[in-house]
């Protein structure tokens, strides 16, 4: 596969790991803890676990898995609101596969479907619009979630619906934006991060400029990274290089996809359809200022929150959950009190165990290698 295989070459990986190892030793020398690099994006978390990159890195580097999994950070109250929508008899609720399993306070969409609600999984919001075309007697609601990467696709779908005069299609909008969340993490007093792997596909939309405050105000390096394993190794090396040279800049490793200015057409569509909410609730992180968007007044017809009465529930995260600390990088998944005991992928308690991209779920299904390493050494 072009643009994929060449960035998965194990031979190159070996060479880069040696290079990273030498540089990390140099940079970490004199510090009482390993270097903490946060990958903001859940897609990076996935690559890191999928290819076993975590175990390949030298002990001087510790990767911290960030908040970039939109399914994971969705608060229970919003899921419950969505379930209430799905249970309207005239509604066909459509959503992405990964949203189907997110637990609300009582059940998930999958369970609601089993109980008779018309819930359908789609690959694209345009597929949801096709369902609306096919069922003019029904109300098709698209459970929209995701960061800036996904926002343009739902915005453009709304614009398409408007153009065609389709009136039985609406969004239950849960789109969130990544910058205020990175800001919230950087503002936390117990912060222990040395640099960031920047979210490549969000950056493809928003460009490089929105990250400048990270370098300017918080003096941390950020490298916008691609999603193949060699992209990640190269980006880590670039962060180390900045640290070594005591630079803190926004660099772009993912030049083949990310342009400095982002994507004009996509940004325009977002701007047209969405506006910032004053606050949005994040599972594990609490309420964050200007971190979510809603449908603009002008497109009220396509806004499920205006079209239907929504309970607008607020449900507190379970007390035992330490997702917030994991998200801020002050706690490793396996050190959480409930990790792997009451909180597992089968019965997720916290946000990060919900989706396979969530730090804890990824750690649970792909990770847990640490405990084996010592065992293996004693036997071989």
């Amino acid at each position: 596969m072009k643009y994929v295989d060449e960035f998965r070459d194990p031979e190159q990986a070996r060479k880069w790991l040696e290079k990273i190892s030498a540089l990390a030793k140099q940079v970490q020398a004199g510090k009482d803890r390993p270097l903490h690099i946060m990958e903001v994006c859940g897609g990076h978390t996935h690559t890191i676990f999928r290819y076993g990159i975590k175990q390949m890195l030298p002990p001087e580097i510790e990767l911290v898995h960030g908040p970039g999994c939109p399914v994971c950070v969705l608060p229970m109250g919003r899921v419950d609101d969505c379930l209430a929508l799905a249970e309207h008899p005239e509604v066909i609720l459509t959503t992405f596969g990964d949203a189907m399993r997110v637990p609300g306070s009582l059940k998930s969409l999958l369970q609601a479907k089993a109980e008779g609600a018309d819930v359908r999984m789609v690959y694209s919001p345009t597929d949801a619009l096709s369902i609306a075309r096919k069922h003019p007697d029904k109300e098709v609601v698209f459970f929209a979630l995701g960061f800036e990467t996904t926002m343009p696709s739902t915005a453009l779908t709304v614009l398409q619906a408007e153009e065609e005069g389709i009136k039985n299609f609406s969004l239950f909008c849960n789109h969130i934006t990544i910058i205020p969340t990175i800001k919230a993490i950087l503002d936390s007093p117990d912060l222990q991060l040395d640099g960031f792997l920047g979210p490549g596909h969000v950056s493809m939309i928003i460009g490089q400029h929105p990250y400048l405050f990270i370098a300017d105000e918080h003096k941390k390096p950020l490298v916008i990274a691609g999603f193949e394993p060699l992209d990640i190794l190269q980006s880590i090396w670039m962060i180390l290089n900045q640290l070594k040279e005591q630079r803190h800049e926004i660099e772009n490793q993912y030049g083949r996809v990310v342009q400095v200015e982002g994507n004009h057409n996509a940004l325009e569509a977002i701007e047209k359809v969405f506006e910032l909410r004053e606050f949005f609730e994040w599972r594990g992180l609490g309420s964050i200022e200007r971190s979510g968007v809603r449908v603009r007044e002008g497109y009220a017809l396509y806004d499920a929150e205006r079209k239907f009465s929504i309970p607008n529930l607020k449900i507190a995260d379970p007390k035992s959950c330490q997702c917030g600390e994991v998200l801020r990088g002050t706690l490793k998944p396996k050190d959480c009190k409930v990790f792997g005991t009451t909180c597992t992928p089968e019965t997720p308690l916290g946000a990060l165990m919900v989706s396979t991209e969530g730090a804890c779920a990824a750690y649970y299904s792909y990770g847990r290698m640490d405990s084996f390493e010592s065992k293996r050494e004693t036997t071989t």
């Binding site: 643009y3 060479k15 453009l156 969000v202 083949r256 994507n263 057409n265 996509a266």
Partner: protein, 95 residues
């Protein structure tokens, strides 16, 4: 967050509505190409382009030169490392 995968545009299925067929390793799907179309790139000119696909939309055109540059950099530094290693080894052999 945001699974994206490179694919090649193999057919413009509806220029007016900006729809095209993309191919990912032999799997085809119709996607929306609004985000990569502008005055310089009318829909018809997108045929053969490599794009990054996310939830049924071609989100960006993949920049071939940039990809080549990244790869070159990846390999160059790798090669340098190899030379460095060879040097270290020969030092060991001939102290």
């Amino acid at each position: 967050m945001c699974l994206g995968i490179p694919g090649k545009i193999v057919e413009i299925t509806n220029a007016e509505n900006k729809l095209a067929l993309v191919d990912v390793a032999g799997v085809k799907r119709e996607v929306n190409i609004v985000c990569i179309v502008d005055d310089e790139h009318p829909p018809e000119s997108c045929l053969g382009d490599w794009v990054l696909i996310h939830v049924g939309f071609a989100m960006t055109r993949i920049n071939e030169e940039e990809a080549a540059r990244t790869l070159e950099l990846l390999h160059e530094l790798g090669e340098l490392q190899e030379e460095f290693q060879a040097m270290k080894n020969s030092e060991k052999e001939n102290p």
